[in-house]
Each structure stands twice: as C-alpha cells, then as structure tokens.
Symmetry: C2
C-alpha cells in the first residue's frame, strides 16, 4: 500500500466522484520529507494545515488518527515524500460548503526526487504572473492552476539538459514571489531576504525555518534584486536548501553563506544532510 | 446510474486518487440544463470546454464518445442538471503537466434546483474580491476557492428565509464581475450591460446568448451602476434568466425589459419557458 483514502476518521476504499477537490480544488495539501521512517517536520506541517483549514472552514480529522495512519503507511519505508491532501466534505452540487461534513483526505507515499543539484540550480523567469488574493495568500491550497501553467512554460527536456531546473514567479505588480515549487532567499548587503507573501505565494515550512534561523527579512523584491544578489537559494520541505548557480545571464559560484545555511539545516534535520559531491 | 467515470475514450470504475483534479484543481467543468431528455446548449458548452482545454493544454476525449455517454446517462430522464468535469491526465507528483496523458472526466446527473424565483432574487454584496488572472479569465476552470469562500459568506438559512439568494462579487479594483454562480446584466439608459471578463469571472453560455440577443455591451461596472440600474437580472445555463428584486436597500418591481428577455430565451429554448406564477 502506498495510498490511503479516508473520510473523517474512517478509512474508505475509493475517492468519491463528487469530491469537492475535483470540483473546485476545495482543499489543502502538505508535501513532506520522509527520513529514517519518520517525518522531520510533522508538527509544523500539521500546524500549517490546521491554520489553512481554519481559514477555509474545513474540519480536520483527528490528528492522532492521521499520525497513526502515517506510521502505518511508512512501515518498512525509510525515505520518500509523503503527500497529505485534505478536501472539504462532499455536499450538494454548488459552491455552498457542507457545514458539518467530514473532510475527505488521502495519504500517498512517493519516491524521493533524484535530481542532483550539488552544482546549483539553473533558474528561469516564468511569464505568468501570480494573482493577488489576500484571503488565500500563504496557504498551501489546492487551487494551483497558476503553478501548473508556470511549470508548463518549460519542457521536461529542458530540465534534463539543465537548461532550467525551476522557474521564478512574479506577481501582477512585478514583485518576485517564489519558484513554482519552492521559496526564494537572496543575500543582499550580508542579510538574507525572502519575498513577503501577503498577496500570494505559499508560506513554506522550510522557508519559516530559514527565516527563523537565518534572521531573514520578509520584503518586496524586484527581479533585479534577485539577479544582483550576492547569493541565492531555493528551499522546500522535501529538498531542503538548494543553491542557485544561474539565472538568465547571471551566474553564482558556490557561496559560503549558502553552504553555511545548508550546514545549519543538516544539523537541525539529518534528512537534509548535504550529500558529498 | 447517475455518474459516469472515464479516462480518455474509456469507461473506468473509479476516480484515480492521484487525480490532478484533487491535487491542483487542474481541470474544467460545464454545468448544463437537461430538458426533454436532451441538453439545449450542448454545442456551446462543448465549444467553451474545448477553448478552455486548448488554453490549459488538456487533451479532450472524442466528442462523439462523450455525446454518446451523455445520451446513455440521460436515458429515461427528462429534466435535470448535467455536470461534466474534465481533469488533466495523471502524471508524476508535481506541477509538470503529463504531456500526452489522457484526460480523466466524469458525467453526473443532478436534480433541477427547486428555488422559486418568480418574485425575483434577493442579492447581497460579497466581501471577498476576485483576483485578476488574465490567463484564466473567462474559463470555467476548477480553481474555485474564491467562489466557495464567497458562498460561505451567507448561510443556507439566509437563503431559505430569502434574506439572500445570491451574492455579487467585485474584483480587486472594485469593479462588479458576477454573482457566485451566475452572470449579471443591468439595464442603464435603455441598454443592457454586463461586466467585461478580461481579468476574472466565467464567460457563461447564457451570458453569451444574452449578449448576442439583447445586443448587450461588455463594460466596467461600479457597484453604484448596479444599485442605480433600471433593471437587473442574473443568468446561467441551468436556470436561464432570473429577475433581481432586491439588492441591499434598493428594490425593483417586475420590469418589462426583464420579462421580455425571459420570453426571448423561452422562445429560443423551451427549457427556459417562464413558469406561471
């Protein structure tokens, strides 16, 4: 078994075709690193999920039951990526949320991504601009067509040939927000900075760790603030801190400040220990 | 049977838990009126779906196969609401669209809504403001959290007591866009006008019929342009043209221009024949 399907605090055998996930993307998700048979940041992931569920009015299942099902799914597995998707309970046709319906949710275990990035990521700028919706900003919700369209701007072949590993996204006002599946940090004047996410973007778990640990500032960033930065990294909770080597014409040799951030993360969570390269 | 599940041109027995519909709302839908065992605007619905699928890069199944499955589902049924949801084919975890994967899709037949509206709808203003995303504007895509949050602003009890049947939505700039599940038309200076949908909103099938038939103008509308209008109606492809009786402090007695629009629609499509009241 590498997928578990649930409604409220009960296992189910199938996805309800009337899922509000399919109909409206009416849900939230967490993508988590599995290491040594456990989930390093489980509490933080659950806290973010709970905050999102409170904002959307989705009743979560019992956290103890979910944790037990995670343990069951991870039994005998050491490494991987765990995805938890929670969607609002099924009600009548139409947008009206069913007031007391149990949430539908699923757990799925995936292999770790294998991309070798010790020489640093190659980034590109995406053309699509993220819309501002303060009521959804920061949430890892399931309305992700913007990210799908952004990722469709370059081909898998480009990624294989290392023409582009990831894409950077600006909002409608031209401020830099994030990559398609990672947050962004830039070193300027010796201080780490990361885009403020009050209008759009996902407030990542690894991003929060980096803000706290590196005393990073949340600011507005213009594209030139990235290209002229002293160092750049991306981060997410699956891959940790990923150095950036190139963005359009600009390239960065390995930066001690990024290496230090990676060491700090590896020290805090062995899952993210830097691979010998 | 009142639900059919499919992948490409094949019937399937279940929803794939890895559906990109659930993960990202990566899909499109059509909500259609069933009348006398047929779907009055089938060609228009399919054309809109195809335009959306082209914009999102989702390969549609064979239209002849879909039409045959619709006939099968409607067999023996006369009236109802038919919902078609098409989601991008399942690929690996992550935003990258699977390049040649067959789309997953479903058909579901629902009962007609029973709300009696012959005395006109009661409208309210929603607080949430729609985000601008020109790349998705007009599409009936499955990223609908804004509509879910808008609809959650008033209770079912309010609807039952006729305190609010529907809510009007503005965009981030304060222009009026639509109701949560219907388009908006206002009569001003003897001419019908409806919000332009270049930044957000759904370009409804009944809206297009009304634009063509009533020679309506697509414009920017301020909230006061609605409250001071000579007449107001909402429309969608399930319920046709719905007169508006009240919006906050303003009320409208039955308007001959709305009655005329309803007669024209009933003449074009018997499904929308005005009920005696």
């Amino acid at each position: 078994m590498n997928v578990g399907l649930y409604r409220g605090n009960t296992r189910t055998g199938a996805v309800d075709p009337a899922s509000r996930g399919i109909a409206y993307g009416d849900g939230l998700f967490e993508t988590m690193r599995v290491h040594a048979g456990g989930v390093p940041w489980w509490q933080r992931h659950w806290a973010r999920l709970a905050a999102g569920a409170a904002r959307l009015g989705i009743p979560l299942p019992d956290p103890g039951f979910v944790a037990a099902e995670v343990d069951r799914l991870l039994e005998g597995r050491s490494e991987g990526v765990l995805k938890l998707v929670v969607t609002r309970g099924v009600g009548a046709r139409g947008y009206t949320p069913a007031p007391n319906a149990d949430a539908d949710w699923q757990l799925a275990l995936h292999p770790l991504p294998v991309t070798e990035v010790s020489d640093g990521l190659v980034l590109r700028w995406c053309r699509i601009r993220l819309a501002h919706q303060p009521l959804l900003a920061g949430l890892k919700h399931c309305n992700r067509l913007e990210q799908v369209l952004a990722r469709a701007e370059w081909l898998e072949a480009d990624a294989r040939e290392r023409l582009a590993d990831e894409g950077l996204l600006c909002d409608q006002e031209g401020s830099v927000i994030s990559a398609t599946a990672a947050n962004l940090f830039v070193l300027r004047g010796g201080r780490w900075r990361t885009p403020a996410l009050d209008g759009c973007g996902v407030a990542g778990i690894c991003r929060q760790w980096a803000i706290d640990t590196l005393d990073a500032e949340q600011v507005r960033l213009a594209p030139t603030d990235v290209s002229s930065a002293e160092a750049v990294f991306l981060c997410n909770a699956v891959r940790g801190i990923l150095p950036v080597a190139r963005l359009d014409g600009r390239s960065w040799p390995p930066q001690p400040a990024v290496a230090r951030a990676r060491r700090l993360l590896a020290g805090a969570h062995p899952a993210f220990a830097t691979e010998p390269s």
